[in-house]
Symmetry: C2
Subunit: 664 residues, 2 copies
C-alpha cells in the first residue's frame, strides 16, 4: 500500500473535530472503540476477504459464505466475544448469511413467543448453534397478508401431536432466509386447527433436517428458490422453499406463550397479552432503521470521496479540471443524502430508546403507548428504507460510468439493500398502517383520548391548522422552531384533510381504499416530521468537539429544507408557507451546501468505515482511484486469456465469412 493520501487537501479543509464526530456517529466512545477493534479484526483476517464475490458462481459463492460463517463463529468462540462484539463482527463480515436469520429472527421468535419452558429447552441449543433456525412465514401465494397463510397445523389428540401440512402449491413456504440449504429447524407459521376449528395463524418449532446427515426429515421437501438480484449480493443467502406432507411434531413445539393447545385439544389463551408481539416488531424494525443509516452512509461515503477525486470540465486550457463535488447539481444530489444518513442514524438511536421504553412499559402492563410506537416504527422503517434504496442508486449515478462497475461497490450495495423495502412489511402496506393510525388519532381528537409520543403535535391542531410561517428572510429557515412548525402544520393539515374527506364516505373502509394514495402522502408527511424533529432534539443535547455541533446543525437544516423543496406541493397546497417563503428556503439550502462543501470528506470519514468494509475502489480512503481501478480490471476471468474463449468457434468464422459452414 502506498502511503499517499490524495484526499489530504480535502481533509485539511474540515472545520470540525472528526474524531469527536466519530463518537457522535458511533453513539458512544465505547461503541466507537469496539467497532474499530472489530472492524480491524475482520479487515485483517484473510478468511474474510470479499474481493471476488461478484465473479463467483452461485455454488462457490455459497460455499464461501458457509466458510466465512463458520470462521466467524470460530473466532467468536476463540476470542470469547460478547454478544455486542459478536454482532459487530457479523456486521463487518458484511455478507448476508443464514446466521442473520438464526440470530435475528429465530432466536427472537422463541424468546418472544415461547413459554419459559420452551425457552429453556431451545435457546441454549440455538445459542451454541447446535441447531440452526430460520423464520418460515411467507408462502408462495401469501406474503403481506399473514392471515391468509395456508399451511395447516392440525392437532391430533390421539398422538398429542400437530400435523403440519402444505395443502396447496401456493402454501409452499417461500423466501425464508437460511431455509434452503442450512437450517436444521424453523419457526413455521401455520393455521392452527383443533377439532375442525381454525384458530388462525400460530408459530411452531419444526425440525427440518436430520442432525446426523442433514437430509430433510420425512415428509419434508426443501430447496433454494433461485438466483436473486445482483452479483454476489443476497445470493450468499439460501432463501428457501419448503413443503410439508403431513409432518408430525410434538404438541409442545407450538409456541405457547400467548395461547395454548391443551392435551385434550382445547385452545386457550394465557394471561400474557397479545400485544406483546408488537414488542418484537418494534425491535426488528428498529434494527432495520439502523441498517438503513449504515447502508446509506456507505454509499454516500463512496460517492463523496469519489466526487472529490473526479474532475470534469472547467479547466483553462491544459489546467486541472474542476472536482465534480464543486458543481451545485452534484451537491444538490449528494448533500441531502449525506444529511439523510445522519438523520437516519439519530432517529435509529431514538428508536432504540423507544424499544427500551416500550419493553419496560410492557413489563409494567402499560400498553398505552404501544399502538403509537408500533405505527411509528412501521412508518420509519418504510421511510428510511425507501430513501436509502433510492439514495444508493443516486450515489451510483453520482459516480458516472465508473459507478456501474462492480468494483465501485455500489451495484452490490444496492442489490443487497433493496429487499429491505419489501421484507418485514412492504413499505406501502406499512404506510397504510400508519395512515390508519393517523386517521384514528384525528377521529379521537375531540374525545378525551390524548395523542401521545410522536403524535403529540396533534394536541396543537387548532394552532397548526391556521398558523402561517413566520419566515421573512432566508436565515429564518435556520430556526428549529420555524422548521418544526412548518412540518407539523403540513402533517396535521394533510391528515385532517384526509379525515374530512373520509368522513364523506358512508362506508369508512371503502373511503380508506379510495383515498389510499392521499393517505399515504399524509403518512409520509408524518414520518418525515418525526425524523426532522428527532434530529432537532438530538441537537439540543450537549455535543462536544470543535465545530461538531455546527456541522450537525447544517446537516439537520439541509435535511429539512431539502424535504421542504422536494414536497413543496404539500407545503404550498396546505397553505403552510408562501411561494416567497419557499424561495427563501431554497436560497438558504444553497448557502448551506457551501458550508458543507469543505467539510464533506471529513463528514464521511466520521463514519469510520474501513476500506475492507466499504468494498469500493471509488470510495478508497486514500482516493487512489485510477491505478486501483486499472489493476482490478485485469482480475476479471475474461482476462485470463488475451484471445477469448469462443473466438475460434464464433468470431473468426464471422470475420472470415465462413459462418455458413460453422457449427454453432
Amino acid at each position: 500500500m502506498e502511503s499517499v493520501d490524495h484526499l489530504a487537501d480535502e481533509r485539511g479543509k474540515a472545520s470540525f473535530d472528526v474524531d469527536e464526530m466519530k463518537v457522535v456517529w458511533a453513539g458512544s466512545r465505547h461503541v466507537l472503540e469496539l467497532s474499530e477493534r472489530i472492524a480491524r479484526l475482520v479487515a485483517s483476517d484473510p478468511a474474510f476477504q470479499k474481493d471476488n464475490r461478484t465473479t463467483l458462481g452461485r455454488k462457490e459463492l455459497f460455499k464461501n459464505t458457509l466458510r466465512k460463517a463458520a470462521h466467524a463463529w470460530k473466532r467468536i468462540i476463540e476470542l470469547r466475544l460478547t454478544e455486542e462484539e459478536a454482532s459487530k463482527l457479523r456486521f463487518y463480515v458484511d455478507e448476508p448469511a443464514f446466521t442473520d436469520l438464526h440470530w435475528g429472527m429465530f432466536v427472537p421468535a422463541i424468546k418472544g413467543q415461547g413459554t419459559e419452558e420452551q425457552q429453556q429447552k431451545w435457546l441454549p441449543l440455538a445459542y451454541k448453534m447446535q441447531i440452526i433456525g430460520c423464520y418460515a412465514q411467507t408462502e408462495l401465494g401469501h406474503g403481506s397478508n399473514v392471515q391468509g397463510l395456508e399451511t395447516t397445523a392440525t392437532f391430533d389428540p390421539q398422538t398429542d401431536e400437530f400435523i403440519i401440512n402444505s395443502p396447496t402449491l401456493t402454501s409452499s413456504k417461500w423466501w425464508p432466509g437460511g431455509l434452503g440449504k442450512v437450517s436444521t429447524h424453523a419457526v413455521v407459521y401455520a393455521r392452527l386447527i383443533t377439532d375442525g376449528q381454525d384458530h388462525g395463524v400460530h408459530g411452531f418449532i419444526v425440525q427440518l433436517r436430520s442432525l446426523d446427515d442433514h437430509l430433510p426429515l420425512e415428509g419434508i421437501t426443501i430447496g433454494d428458490i433461485g438466483t436473486k438480484f445482483g452479483n454476489g449480493a443476497y445470493n450468499t443467502m439460501d432463501n428457501g422453499v419448503l413443503r410439508f406432507d403431513n409432518v408430525r411434531i410434538p404438541r409442545n413445539q407450538m409456541l405457547m406463550r400467548v395461547s395454548q393447545v391443551t392435551r385434550e385439544g382445547k385452545y386457550v389463551h394465557s394471561n400474557v397479552p397479545r400485544q406483546l408481539v408488537y414488542g418484537t416488531m418494534v425491535y426488528v424494525r428498529q434494527t432495520i432503521v439502523a441498517d438503513a443509516s449504515c447502508a446509506l452512509s456507505r454509499a454516500v461515503c463512496i460517492a463523496t470521496r469519489y466526487s472529490a477525486v473526479r474532475r470534469q470540465f472547467g479547466s483553462q486550457k491544459g489546467g486541472v479540471e474542476t472536482q465534480v463535488i464543486d458543481y451545485k447539481t452534484q451537491q444538490n444530489r449528494l448533500f441531502p443524502l449525506l444529511a439523510s444518513a445522519y438523520a437516519f442514524r439519530f432517529v435509529g438511536e431514538w428508536l432504540k430508546w423507544l424499544y427500551t421504553d416500550v419493553t419496560e412499559r410492557l413489563q409494567a402492563n402499560d400498553f398505552s403507548t404501544l399502538p403509537e410506537a408500533h405505527a411509528c416504527t412501521a412508518g420509519l422503517k418504510s421511510l428510511t428504507t425507501s430513501a436509502t434504496a433510492d439514495g444508493i442508486e443516486e450515489c451510483r449515478k453520482l459516480c458516472g460510468g465508473h459507478g456501474y462497475l462492480c468494483s465501485s461497490g455500489l451495484p452490490e450495495l444496492f442489490a443487497v439493500y433493496v429487499p429491505a423495502c419489501t421484507y418485514e412489511g412492504d413499505n406501502v402496506v406499512l404506510l397504510l398502517q400508519v395512515a390508519r393510525f393517523l386517521m384514528k388519532t384525528v377521529s379521537q381528537l375531540g374525545s378525551g383520548k390524548k395523542p401521545v409520543g410522536t403524535t403529540a403535535y396533534f394536541l396543537q391542531v387548532e394552532h397548526l391548522m391556521q398558523c402561517s410561517s413566520s419566515a421573512r428572510k432566508a436565515e429564518d429557515w435556520l430556526k428549529p422552531s420555524v422548521i418544526l412548525e412548518a412540518f407539523e402544520a403540513r402533517a396535521v393539515r394533510m391528515s385532517v384533510a384526509c379525515a374530512q374527506r373520509l368522513g364523506k364516505f358512508a362506508n369508512l373502509e371503502e373511503g380508506f381504499l379510495e383515498l389510499s394514495a392521499d393517505l399515504i402522502e399524509a403518512a409520509v408527511a408524518h414520518c418525515q416530521l418525526i425524523v426532522v424533529s428527532k434530529f432537532i432534539e438530538k441537537l439540543k443535547q450537549n455535543i462536544p468537539g470543535k465545530g461538531v455541533k455546527d456541522q450537525l446543525e447544517n446537516l439537520c437544516n439541509i435535511y429539512a429544507l431539502f424535504l421542504l423543496h422536494k414536497h413543496l406541493g404539500d407545503f404550498l397546497s396546505t397553505g403552510v408557507i408562501s411561494s416567497k417563503q419557499a424561495s427563501l428556503a431554497n436560497d438558504q439550502l444553497r448557502s448551506l451546501y457551501s458550508q458543507v462543501r469543505p467539510n464533506a470528506v471529513a463528514l464521511v470519514d466520521a463514519f469510520n468505515y474501513t476500506d475492507h468494509f466499504l468494498g469500493s475502489i471509488l470510495g478508497r480512503y486514500d482516493g487512489n482511484v485510477y491505478p486501483k481501478l486499472y489493476e482490478e480490471a485485469w482480475k476479471d476471468p475474461l482476462n485470463d486469456s488475451v484471445v477469448p474463449d469462443g473466438y475460434h468457434e464464433y468470431v473468426r468464422p464471422m470475420l472470415k465469412q465462413q459462418l455458413r459452414n460453422a457449427r454453432l
Copy 2:
C-alpha cells in the same frame, strides 16, 4: 405448455380493440407484422434461449453471447434479412453484445465523419463484418468532458503517419463496448497534434487486433474492465480498456470529413460544416428514447400482469383475496408508468421524424433548427432514461418479494438498463445543456430571433407569464388546452425566473454554476412539456379501432396529471394553478385510474411481447405464475444436491461443536 389462460377474465374486460392498439404501438401495420415475424423466429430458435443467463459465470456467459451473435449473423445472411429485419432480430435476441457498438456507433461514426473515400474503403468491410469495430472515446479519467481527453495522435510528416499514444494512466481508453475481447478495429478519439500544435479531439480509425490470430497489434494493450452491475445483464458485453504505446497508423485513417491533415502536416477545414456531427447525435439519442419506451413497457407489462394475478388481503374468511391491481396505491404507482411507456413511445416516434427533418435541412444547408433539435433530443434522452430506470425498479417493487428473484426478469432489466442514464451523455450534464439553450432562448426573446420547434411556446411568453388556469371542475382537466397551457406556463415561468436571477450575476458563467440546480428544474419542466404536447398531438391524428383513442386519451391525461401532482410545487409556486385546481386535477386522476383498470392487461398485451422476450415468470402471458416459479426454483445450481457443498467442512463442525479443530 398448458393452454389455460389465467388472465382471460382480465382480457375479457377490455373495452377496446387490442389488435388495433398493437398497430398504434408498433407504429404501423408493416412494423407490427415484421416485429411479430422476427420475434417468433427468435423465440422459436433454441440457440436464442436465455433461461440460464443469470447463473452463468462471466466466461461462459460471454462465450454464449459470442455464439448467439454468430448465430444471429448466420440467420441474417441465410434468410437475407433486410436491415430493418436484422436490427429487429438483434433487438429480440435481447442481449447486449459487441454488435450493438459495431452497428450502432462504429458504422455511424464512419458514415458521419468519414470522407466519401473513407466510407468506400471501410463500410463494405464493416457491413460484411470482415472487421468488427467499436467506439473508443471515453478514458479512465475523462468521460463527460470529451475535450479533456488525453490520448494523442501526433502527425509524423516523415512517414505520413499518426502516432497514437496513451501518455498517462488516466488516458487509457475505458468503457468502450466490444473493445475488450472482440473488436478488430476502433474509432479512437484523440487530440490531434501537428507540428507541436494541439488541434483538439478528432476521430481515427485504428486497427487493434490482427485479423489472423486476433492478438493485439504491437504497442496495443487491451483487456476487459471487469464485472458490471447485475447477473447476466451488461456482463455479456466486453467493455474494454485500451492503451497505446506509440502506435502508428496511416494518415488516411483520420476521419477527415470535417477537417483534414495534409501530406505536409497542415491542419485544414473542409467546407463541410461542423454542425453535421449534431445529426449523428440526434440519431443516436432518438434510438435511446425509443429504447426507453421498450424497456419501460416491458417492466410495466410484467408488473401489470402479475398485479392482476397476485392477491393479498380483503377476503372474507376463506374467500378469494383482492387482486393487488385493485388497490388504489398500486394503481397510483403502476398506471402512470403505463402511461409513461406510451408517452415515450410517441415522443420517440416524433423524434424519428425530427431526425429526418434535421437531415433534410442539413442537406439543404439549413442549420436554423439544429440547436433546438439538439437541445430537445438531449433533454428527451435525459428525461426518458431517468424515468425509465426509476420506473423499472418501481415495477420490481410492485411485484413484492417475488420481483427480487431473477426469474421475475426485473432485476436484469434494471441492471442492463440503468447505464442509459450515463452513456451518450450523463443525464445531469445533458439537462444543463438544455438549460443553457433555454436561457439563450429567453435572452433572445426581445430580439428578432424567433424561438422555433419545441420552444415555439416562448412566443406567447406574455400571455403565459400572467395567465391563470381556467379549470373549474375536475373534468376540465381532461381538456388538452387546459393541460397544455398549465405545462407551458409552468415551463416559461421557470425559465424566465432563472433568467432573471441569472441577470443579477456580474459573471454569467458564475451565475449559471450557482443556479444550476434550479436551471435543471426548468429544463425538466420544458422536457415534460414536450412529451405531453407530443402525446396530445398524436391524439389529433386519426386513430382507428374501437375504443383505441379513448384509451390513449386516458393515458395521456394520466401522464400529464400525474406529472402535475408530482411537481405540484412548480405549478403552485409559479402561480399557474391554485390549490383548489390542483385538488380537482387529483380527483380527475383518480377517476382516470378507474377507467384504465379494466383495460390494464389489454393495454400491456398491446406491446405484443413474446414470453421469450419478456423473460419473466411473473409477466407470463397466461398468468400461470406459481407453478412456473416453483419449477424454476429447482433449476438453481444450489439445488444440484440436497446437502450443500460445504456442509461437511463448515456446517457440521458448527452443529457438532467441533469448530475448534476444523480447518477452514
